[in-house]
């Protein structure tokens, strides 16, 4: 009898060990097979590699923000320690969980929230890559929360939550770097701050529109989650600033932005719409865009100088240059300017503008 009990006990122990091995293997396989785009997955995972509380300005939003907010310009010219935590077509419900996760390790003074999702009309996220961008969130609660928020029915999220059902066929596109943790951020290294440069140039004209106060209702779920973000920022005592990224295609977005600004007003939250016709800071629509809506490198530098000066004016943001905790910003900037020496400014600080 005792022998049988011993045997059964040994069996359960072996079963648990086997199950654990299987789970570890599956988790690693999921990581390997997950497309590690530099936006979304990489920028989120890389955030965990940053020293704790070393980000003063956290930018959250869509590709407009990660291509437009040049963290290197903000750092090297103004000493602003900023990090872009953005992903392609990131809806507010993903932004919400992204912020929640970021707040586990960082305590930013300001959160910059990209206003672009205000124009998104879909109730749920249909594109797999947007949902897959949440795979960088290592906190299970926030990751599952983001996935559940993306899909219409909870059962639709099961494949994403388990991971492999959604990513298993990526074995066709694997490279050696996919097996490494953390991911190589497209060769940018751990000091990278989430800015993704776009090198192309696409010629545009400044959007022509009648500047009105007319509002167009936002999608109900986008509104629900942007309100949650506002409430979260208030609860955490973090300043939040809405950002309307300059965009040649802005005319169609205008009334949605008005609605968003109106909602933000209810919470006493302000924003800067860089599409305002009165705002002139040297941005050229003929040469500063990479495509129909993203700023290119030149545009990002011009825009970020303006953004930095506005941030300095609005908030009490210390110049962190020379502080050992922020050494990675120096490394990131040095790497970046080595690749883009034309954008290096000799004079430092506010006086350069």
């Amino acid at each position: 009898m005792a022998g049988r009990a011993k045997q059964t006990g040994a069996f359960w122990l072996r079963l648990v060990c086997f199950a654990l091995s299987a789970v570890l293997l599956v988790v690693y396989a999921t990581y390997v097979l997950t497309p590690k785009h530099d936006y979304g997955v990489c920028s989120m995972i890389n955030l965990y590699a940053q020293p704790q509380n070393s980000v003063d300005v956290l930018s959250v939003g869509t590709s407009l923000a990660y291509a437009g907010i040049n963290t290197n310009t903000l750092w090297s010219e103004y000493g602003i320690a900023s990090y872009n935590l953005c992903s392609a077509e990131q809806p507010f419900w993903v932004s919400y969980y992204t912020i929640l996760e970021a707040l586990k390790t960082q305590r930013p003074k300001v959160i910059l929230l990209d206003a672009k999702p205000a124009v998104y009309s879909r109730d749920y996220t249909r594109r797999g890559r947007t949902i897959l961008s949440t795979y960088g969130i290592l906190g299970l609660g926030n990751r599952i929360g983001a996935m559940l928020a993306c899909v219409e029915r909870p059962e639709d999220a099961i494949g994403y939550i388990l991971g492999l059902p959604e990513v298993h066929s990526n074995y066709q596109r694997l490279s050696v770097s996919d097996f490494c943790f953390p991911p190589d951020n497209g060769g940018r290294g751990a000091a990278w701050k989430g800015y993704i440069e776009m090198d192309e140039t696409n010629h545009h004209q400044r959007p022509s529109l009648v500047w009105t106060d007319i509002k167009r209702n936002m999608n109900v779920r986008e509104e629900e989650y942007v309100r949650r973000i506002f409430e979260l920022a208030q609860a955490e005592g973090i300043k939040l600033l809405l950002i309307g990224m300059p965009n040649p295609d802005y005319a169609s977005d205008h009334m949605f932005y008005n609605a968003l600004w109106s909602i933000a007003g209810e919470y006493g939250i302000d924003g800067i719409n860089y599409n305002h016709p009165d705002l002139r800071y040297g941005l050229r629509y003929s040469s500063d865009f990479a495509d129909w809506q993203h700023l290119n490198v030149k545009g990002s530098v011009t825009f970020s100088r303006k953004l930095a000066s506005d941030l300095k004016e609005l908030f009490d943001l210390p110049d962190r240059r020379g502080n050992a905790l922020y050494a990675s910003y120096d490394a990131c900037s040095a790497d970046w300017y080595a690749q883009y020496p034309d954008f290096k400014l000799d004079m430092k600080g506010d006086e350069s503008i």
Binding site: Q7, T8, F11, R14, F18, S21, A22, L25, V26, A29, L33, G128, I158, G159, L162, L164, P165, E166, H168, S169, Y171, Q172
Partner: protein, 493 residues
């Protein structure tokens, strides 16, 4: 609920826990409840039809046991068979009847596992009639026998002697049996999801672009269809048997590496074993022992000699059985050609068996060695010929593809043709999967107790292999979003 779905795995995990928590004596009640839930989730039609069949079979069984007169018993059995098999045929062949008569007799879809539970129930009735088993007094026990959930999707077809008592006895949790079941389950999923579903693209290619295809492409496609069908059906069967084994219940084997057969007769003893056994026991045996068969034997003996006289009734009965097997698959000309073809091959081989034996003696042909290879190839060719009618949509299409396989064998566009079906990497994965399956089948063919040997191997051997198998299924399996998961081919029958 497909046994391939995540829902099913969650359901089965819950069943496992509940089953082993239940007191030993009433564990069959847990199985009954699980089967009821499983059938109900497949639609109320399935639940209703299965319940009606179980009820008639229960009452019929008791009636057959209670009646004393031979005539009355025969009459009751005939009525019960007509009722159950008639209902099955009406539902199964509804589209054909609809074409013939212009109206539908059944518009509620085919209940899950219709053929399987009907055949199993009918087998029970005949066994009661023959006095081989005792009729069950509890209708719920008969329901469980007919509707035991793992085997509803595609069999196997068990007899009461094989399954009935196992279902009703409580089974203690046996770690070795549990692990063995899990291994079989994984192996089944591997065959189905990694190999069979990957090869589905080759069948589609044959059916969609069957014009002017090079001969090698058609023949290769048909070979791959035969392999796919085997991997699909036997993989599904391994899943079903693995699930059942985890519950402590051993279902009969349905495949015994049929592609190693040296004759068509052997092939049919190794392929869909339980269906063959059912037809042998409940159709072939009554046919060959009928008075008409005996009269035919006598007449043929007088006219054609004793040997032919003895073989002719069996050959004729075998031919009829295969025609029935063909029609059981689907009521169309293809299925008829498929069944009749095998019927003719089997009947002719039975009739010519004495001639063949005499020839082998005269030519002093060896039993093994190179003759084994010749017999394997011959069997393969005979099986392949039938496959042309197994997956095509019409007999004309089957004959057209058969013609094309003997047409031009132009290899100039080989790589282009192959990659038009699926990328090279996918071919590589399918090939690697097939190689693994071949090695396993070869090992099992040589050593009968491979399962036990594997179980007794140390964890340093077993665990890495099992983890690799699991990972292969999860990574290389055809499932998830963006894929059209293929249902088991035999579920439709």
């Amino acid at each position: 609920m497909s046994i391939l779905s995540l829902d099913f795995l969650v359901f089965f995990a819950a069943v496992l826990i509940v089953y082993y928590i239940f007191p030993l004596k009433i564990r069959w009640v847990a199985l009954l409840a699980a089967s009821l839930v499983f059938v109900a989730l497949s639609g109320w039609q399935s639940a209703a039809h299965l319940s009606i069949v179980a009820l008639t079979v229960w009452a019929g069984g008791l009636g057959l046991q209670a009646l004393r007169g031979v005539r009355m018993r025969k009459l009751l059995l005939t009525l019960l068979l007509m009722l159950n098999l008639g209902a099955m045929m009406l539902i199964k062949y509804q589209p054909v009847f609809s074409d013939w008569f212009g109206f539908s007799v059944w518009e509620m879809g085919v209940p899950l596992g219709l053929s399987y539970f009907t055949f199993q129930s009918v087998g029970y009735l005949i066994d009661v009639y023959r006095g081989k088993v005792q009729a069950q007094h509890n209708p719920l026990r008969v329901w469980l026998f007919a509707g035991y959930f793992p085997q509803l999707s595609q069999g196997p077809i068990s007899t009461w002697k094989e399954l009935g008592h196992q279902l009703l006895e409580g089974h203690r949790f046996e770690p070795e049996q549990f692990v063995s079941g899990f291994q079989l389950l994984l192996w089944g999923y591997f065959k189905k999801l990694v190999i069979a579903d990957r090869l589905a693209a080759t069948t589609s290619a044959l059916l969609t672009e069957n014009n002017a295809l090079p001969g090698w492409f058609v023949l290769g496609g048909v070979v791959l269809f035969a392999i796919r069908l085997y991997m699909d059906f036997s993989g599904g069967m391994d899943v079903v048997r693995g699930l059942s084994r985890m519950l402590g219940i051993e279902l009969p084997e349905n495949f015994r590496r049929p592609f190693f057969s040296r004759s068509v007769a052997e092939y049919w003893r190794r392929w869909h074993i339980t269906l063959g056994a059912w037809f042998r026991s409940y159709l072939l045996y009554p046919l060959t022992t009928s008075s008409a068969s005996l009269a035919l034997s006598k007449g043929a003996s007088k006219a054609l000699g004793k040997r032919v006289g003895l073989a002719l009734p069996s050959a004729l009965a075998t031919f009829l059985v295969f025609v029935f097997i063909g029609i059981w698959h689907t009521a169309n000309v293809n299925a008829l050609v498929f069944g009749a073809y095998f019927g003719v091959v089997m009947a002719v081989s039975m009739l010519l068996d004495p001639v063949w034996k005499a020839m082998r003696r005269r030519l002093k042909l060896p039993k093994g060695g190179w003759m084994t290879v010749v017999r394997l190839v011959r069997t393969w060719l005979l099986i392949l010929l039938a496959q042309f009618f197994a997956f095509t949509n019409s007999a004309a299409q089957g004959f057209s593809l058969l013609r094309q396989s003997f047409s031009t064998w132009d290899f100039s566009a080989f790589s282009e043709k192959m990659t038009s079906v699926m990328p090279l990497l996918e071919w590589g994965i399918a090939g690697a999967g097939l190689l693994v399956a071949l090695v396993v089948d070869l090992l099992c063919e040589r050593k009968k107790d491979m399962d036990a040997r594997f179980l007794n191997a140390g964890i340093l051997v077993r665990w890495p292999l099992l983890l690799m198998l699991l990972l292969s299924i999860l990574v290389f399996g055809i499932y998830g979003s963006g894929y059209d998961a293929q249902a088991f081919l035999y579920t439709q029958f």
